[in-house]
Structure formats: structure tokens, C-alpha cells
């Protein structure tokens, strides 16, 4: 390819690194943007540049947003005494898509794993314990994956929560099946039939 398309090659290369995209689909995406320069490419570039500067983790719950406190934590209507604990932000989004849960979240950022040197301090567990004390929490819903590490983490947290009600999503979440991959109906059913631990 000629020298003049070096930047385009670079763009395609970067796009191909996105999950779900390969070199073929990256080329298609770039061609599409070039055709829609004003409608798509320029606004996309602008918003990318902006978000790259502003995006951050919510200091309270670990959700991502563009402010120190995310929309959910800022919304007083979501302070209903329920906190749903999940492993990753993608799990939070999956829960939100189901429109079933009206409380707040806490994103751990992973699971306990001695073998991978991930302890409570590497996760947002101390912060969760503080929130349960400070935010009038009445129920903690542990929506962790049914993996061995996920279950260890759930028990670890439940063991330290004292008086609040602790529940887990109902069975039916397959072993190793990540929340993110479940459809909304399954999440809704699992949440409805949650069980006290």
C-alpha cells in the first residue's frame, strides 16, 4: 500500500484490536466511517477524545462514568437500602438492561484468588463493608459468578456483613456462566427468586 495510506492502515490496525472486530471487520468499519465523515467519523473522534480525558471509576461503587460519582450513586431514588455486588462493570450493565433492580451497585473488580495474588484489598471489599455501614443498607445481593472463586468471594463477604440480609441470585446461573452473557429474562427470574444466604 502507498505511503499516503499509512494513517489509514494504523487506524484499521487499532480498530482490529477491539473485541469482536478482526482485520476484515475493521476495514469495513473504517471504510464506512470515511463515507460518513461528517455524520459519524468527526463526532466519534470528538467524543472519543473527550471521554478519554473524563472517563473514570466511580469512587463509591466502581461503576464507570465521567464524574467522580456515577449517575446511579448520585440518584437519591436508587438509595433504597439494596446493594447488588457484582464482579465487573459489564455485569452491572447486564443488570441495568433487565430494569429489574432498583437499588445501587458495588463493582468488586474481580474475585478473590490466592493463586492469582488477588486478596480483599485488591478488590473493593473494604469499601463495600464501609458502604453497608454508612448507606442504611438493609440487603446485600451477591450476584457473583458460580465459579469456585466467585463463591469463595461471596462467602467471604457474607461472613462479614453482620445484621443485614444477604441474598444470592437463584440457581440457574450456569457454572462459569458470566452474568454478562445471560439474557434479561434469566437475570430477572434469578433476581426474583433470590435466596437468603
Amino acid at each position: 500500500m502507498s505511503n499516503s495510506s499509512k494513517d489509514l492502515d494504523h487506524l484499521i490496525e487499532l480498530m482490529a484490536k477491539l473485541p469482536g472486530l478482526g482485520p476484515r471487520s475493521a476495514r469495513r468499519a473504517v471504510l464506512h466511517m470515511v463515507k460518513k465523515r461528517a455524520l459519524l467519523m468527526t463526532p466519534l473522534a470528538d467524543v472519543l477524545a473527550e471521554v478519554a480525558v473524563t472517563v473514570r471509576e466511580c469512587l463509591n461503587c466502581g461503576n464507570i462514568g465521567t464524574a467522580d460519582t456515577c449517575d446511579i450513586c448520585q440518584n437519591p431514588k436508587r438509595e433504597n437500602g439494596e446493594i447488588c455486588v457484582i464482579e465487573e462493570v459489564s455485569d452491572l450493565w447486564a443488570m441495568e438492561r433487565s430494569h429489574m433492580f432498583k437499588g445501587r451497585y458495588h463493582v468488586l473488580g474481580g474475585t478473590l484468588s490466592a493463586l492469582d495474588a488477588i486478596g480483599p484489598d485488591e478488590l473493593r471489599i473494604p469499601r463495600l463493608l464501609r458502604r453497608v455501614r454508612d448507606e442504611n443498607v438493609t440487603e446485600v445481593i451477591l450476584a457473583l459468578n458460580a465459579t469456585i472463586d466467585g463463591q469463595t468471594t461471596a462467602h467471604y463477604i457474607a461472613d462479614q456483613l453482620g445484621d443485614v440480609r444477604v441474598s444470592t441470585l437463584a440457581q440457574g446461573v450456569p457454572i462459569g456462566g458470566e452474568l454478562d452473557y445471560l439474557d434479561d429474562g434469566t437475570i430477572t427470574a434469578a433476581l426474583r427468586a433470590r435466596k437468603t444466604l
Binding site: 490466592a114 469456585i148 467471604y156 461472613d159
Partner: protein, 368 residues
């Protein structure tokens, strides 16, 4: 006659085999040929039709035919009663082994529900003399044959145990963390122990009920820590908590079913298996495999597939004839290997006979 049998076996680039197709009926299969011809490799391929890593416990990469090293595939049609299952397992370019049953991606647990495969290989000749690990593995294979969920429980147990041992090694003292892991160890540990004990009961019952030319082995489950725990997982969890400081000093978990062992006794003589003669030790293992097969047949209606690598060579003519008679009475498709056809003469047309030879660096299999 109800049967579990391989009806066809296809090997592609599997160890010494290039492309091999074997069609067979439910009768036992006698495989003979020179050293290094590729007989044990056939048994290994069949062992992959049941959960686990097969007779040699090899990695997928070790099984790929060299020098090509492209990957390999084993596929088989298995008959269980009146149903046929197509089982395919393969590995490409050194990646993890894949499994498909009837065209659909499947798990090892699903495989365990279809195919029960038991084996005896020369490496097990020293089972009674060597460390507890080999005996525990032997017991777990037997247990898995009765309880297809056993394998998964053992995997969860072992993973949780590795987590706990890492905490101990790193001198972590967070009691909540231990409790969370110990809860899972205890929940699976009691199931594992119970399943092992039940398996031994089935074996003993099957030995007691049989007329057999092979000596009865009396087996007891032992544990160096002499721990007792009931079917209640809380007891085991409590025990682990009690032992925590001692385990911290040792840097590993000292008590639990991961240290279970089997103590075998040659019943008629009341002599421990480890002190029995070489031939007697082998006879005990054969007796156990046959008892396992009879117990399975009684419980599931189907005898298991047996893989008996070089078993005939170690038996005198009378014992050999007795083994063949018992296999035929059991109705098991036993795949047996040996160097010469004379070892299988007593079987006659009660079995199908395969000759394995090496031709230009490739194993060749011919139905005789």
C-alpha cells in the same frame, strides 16, 4: 445381550497412528503385535472416551503424532444398550482437548454418563507398593464409574485446596478468607469421601457374590491423619478451622480426603497386598477390575469397557483361561494387548483379533 461397546474407532494422527479405522462388534478385542507397534496407543485412544486424561495421563500435545505435530483426533461410535453415540475428541496446534458428543460440544461429566471405561496397565503393577496417590487415583476411577459427578467434585475440591494451601504458604491469617474456602472444601470433601466409601462397598459386595478364579482383595479406606468426619460438611469445616494454626506451620493442609489411601489385603491369606507376591498383586488388581465391572453391570445394566494392557503375559495358562471366561461371562468388550497371538488362543472366536504392525513409521491395524 445388553452391551456397552465401541462399534467403530477412528484415529487420526494419534501417536504412532496415521489414519486408522477399526470396525468391531461387542465381543472382546485381542490386540497383538511386536513391541512398539502401537497397541497401547489404541488402548489410550479408547481411554479418552471416558472422563480424564486417559491411561497415560498425557497432555493433548504429547499425543499428537510426530514429526507432523499438527494435532490429532479420536472419534468413535459407542453403543449403549440400543442407542448409538458418536464421540469425538481432538486437539489442534497444541490447544486444549475438545470434546463433542453426537455433534454437540460436551463436558467430561456428560461423557462419564455414557461411557464407563476401566483399565489395568503395566504401570499399575507397583500400585500397592508405591505412594498413596496412585491408589487414590485408582479408587477415584472406580468411584467415578459408579458416580459420574465424582470427577467434578474432585476438581472443585482440588482447586479450593490449592487456594487454601497458597494462603497457608503466604502465611495469610485472614480468618474470613479461610472460612470461605474451607466451606467449599468441606462441602465437596464429604461428598467425595462418601462416594469413595460407597464405591468400596459395591466392590466388596460384588466380590462376595462371585465365583471367581481371582483372589478377593479386602480394601479399607485409610487416612494418615486418622480423621473421622460424618456426612455433615460442618464437621469437616470445623476440623479444618481447628487445624489452621498447625497447617500454617506446615505450609499446607494436613487433614482431609485429599490424603485418603486404600489399604488392600489378600483376603484368603490375610497378608497385606503390598507384601503379596508380584503375581498375587496383579491378580488382586484383576479381581478388583472384574468386581467393579460386575457391580456396574448390576447397577446400570451394562458392563464397562475394559482396557487390559499386557495382562495376559503375566498369567499362567490356567489363570489366563479363567480371565477370558470371566470377561465373556461379564459380557464386557475388553480390549487386551499382548505381543503374540498365542496369548489369546483360549479366546478363539469369542473375541475378534487385531494384528498391529509398524510399516514405514506408521502403525497398521489388520483384523485377523
Amino acid at each position: 445381550m445388553p452391551n456397552l461397546a465401541v462399534e467403530s474407532l477412528n484415529l487420526s494422527h494419534f501417536r504412532s497412528h496415521h489414519v486408522v479405522q477399526i470396525e468391531c462388534d461387542p465381543r472382546p478385542v485381542a490386540i497383538y503385535g511386536a513391541n512398539g507397534a502401537g497397541k497401547t496407543n489404541i488402548l489410550e485412544a479408547i481411554s479418552l472416551l471416558s472422563p480424564g486424561r486417559g491411561v497415560r495421563r498425557s497432555s493433548a500435545e504429547e499425543m499428537t503424532r510426530r514429526p507432523e505435530a499438527l494435532g490429532w483426533k479420536v472419534s468413535a461410535v459407542l453403543r449403549t444398550q440400543d442407542r448409538l453415540h458418536e464421540i469425538e475428541t481432538w486437539s489442534q496446534n497444541g490447544t486444549a482437548r475438545q470434546l463433542r458428543i453426537d455433534g454437540k460440544a460436551a463436558t467430561q461429566v456428560m461423557l462419564g454418563r455414557i461411557a464407563r471405561v476401566l483399565w489395568l496397565i503395566p504401570a499399575m503393577d507397583r500400585l500397592w507398593i508405591e505412594g498413596a496417590e496412585g491408589r487414590r487415583r485408582f479408587l477415584d476411577r472406580t468411584t467415578l464409574s459408579f458416580d459420574p459427578n465424582h470427577g467434578e467434585q474432585v476438581l472443585i475440591y482440588e482447586k479450593a485446596m490449592r487456594e487454601r494451601n497458597r494462603l497457608l504458604k503466604n502465611q495469610v491469617t485472614d480468618a474470613h478468607w479461610y472460612r470461605a474456602i474451607e466451606g467449599q472444601i468441606a462441602a465437596t470433601g464429604v461428598k467425595i469421601r462418601k462416594a469413595r466409601e460407597e464405591a468400596l462397598e459395591y466392590i466388596h459386595a460384588a466380590q462376595d457374590q462371585a465365583e471367581t478364579a481371582f483372589p478377593t482383595a479386602h480394601l479399607t479406606l485409610t487416612n494418615p491423619e486418622n480423621i473421622e468426619f460424618s456426612a455433615n460438611s460442618d464437621d469437616l469445616a470445623e476440623l479444618l478451622a481447628d487445624y489452621r494454626s498447625r497447617d500454617l506451620a506446615a505450609g499446607r493442609t494436613l487433614a482431609g480426603p485429599h490424603r485418603d489411601d486404600v489399604f488392600g489385603v489378600f483376603a484368603a491369606k490375610d497378608v497385606p497386598a503390598k507384601d503379596s507376591s508380584t503375581g498375587e498383586q496383579k491378580a488382586l488388581l484383576i479381581s478388583l477390575i472384574l468386581a467393579n465391572g460386575r457391580a456396574l453391570k448390576e447397577q446400570t445394566g451394562l458392563p464397562p469397557i475394559l482396557l487390559l494392557d499386557e495382562v495376559a503375559a503375566h498369567l499362567d495358562a490356567a489363570r489366563r483361561a479363567a480371565l477370558y471366561d470371566e470377561i465373556c461371562a461379564l459380557g464386557a468388550q475388553a480390549w487386551m494387548s499382548g505381543t503374540g497371538p498365542e496369548l489369546f488362543e483360549e479366546l478363539g472366536d469369542r473375541a475378534q483379533h487385531l494384528l498391529v504392525t509398524e510399516v514405514e513409521g506408521k502403525s497398521k491395524v489388520d483384523l485377523q
